[in-house]
Point group: C2
């Protein structure tokens, strides 16, 4: 299965630009969530940080990516994968610092007090991943 970033952009009604394609590609190829700084470093040439932030904000608004806020207040992003569902817990390894989506784990439900209504839920689990536990 190949990934066509330009089709992807078109599908969300966005015009095709080099930066947007690069960001999408990097997120698609990555097996972990990436921070703005990590994205910047992985980009081919030097990229303007402002444009990167604007691109990420746009993708987030279009729900093309998930924004993950970690306990250390840093931000990472993953490409939304419709097959994995739009909401699931994320795991943050405290040793290697990687953040991954937890597959096949639907968001656990909480009992809410009467009168409250939910719009979104985010669960971050911190610990050590299987690679670092070896």
């Amino acid at each position: 299965m190949t990934f066509h970033s330009s089709d992807y952009l078109k599908r969300f009604g966005l015009s095709k630009t080099a930066i947007r394609e690069d960001v999408l590609m990097l997120l698609f190829e990555s097996d972990e969530a990436l921070s703005p700084k990590e994205l910047e470093e992985k980009m081919d040439g030097p990229i303007d940080r402002v444009t990167l932030y604007r691109t990420l904000k746009l993708f987030d608004e279009k729900k093309m990516i998930h924004k993950i806020i970690l306990e250390d207040q840093t931000t990472k992003y993953v490409l939304v994968n419709p097959e994995k569902g739009t909401q699931h817990p994320h795991f943050h390894c405290l040793i290697c610092d990687k953040v991954v989506c937890l597959p096949n784990s639907p968001l656990p439900s909480c009992q809410l007090p009467v009168g409250f209504s939910v719009q979104s839920q985010s669960t971050i689990i911190e610990g050590t991943c299987q690679r670092c536990n070896k």
Copy 2:
């Protein structure tokens, strides 16, 4: 039941200072989580922001307070209440911006892949609270 901030500090091996007592008192009296800025505004006199940050970091290290990172990347703090357990979901109302602990709701459990180990878990539920839903 009264709250003695100086006893509280002593119990955690911290020396008693005016700022620490003020911060503890404000957190104790509040029915919602407070941001550094909100704490600063609620303080009697003007307070040095650096001291406030250092105080909050210290309390967090001693596990006297919970640090809650919201989706908008702001930080709020609540006093740890041993009766409510040390970990539970937090609810963030998108209308009034209040953040409260969800009482009687233990942290929902997630199935983790083999080899992963958990150190902490945080769940933030965003939505509208019963007051704002009326």
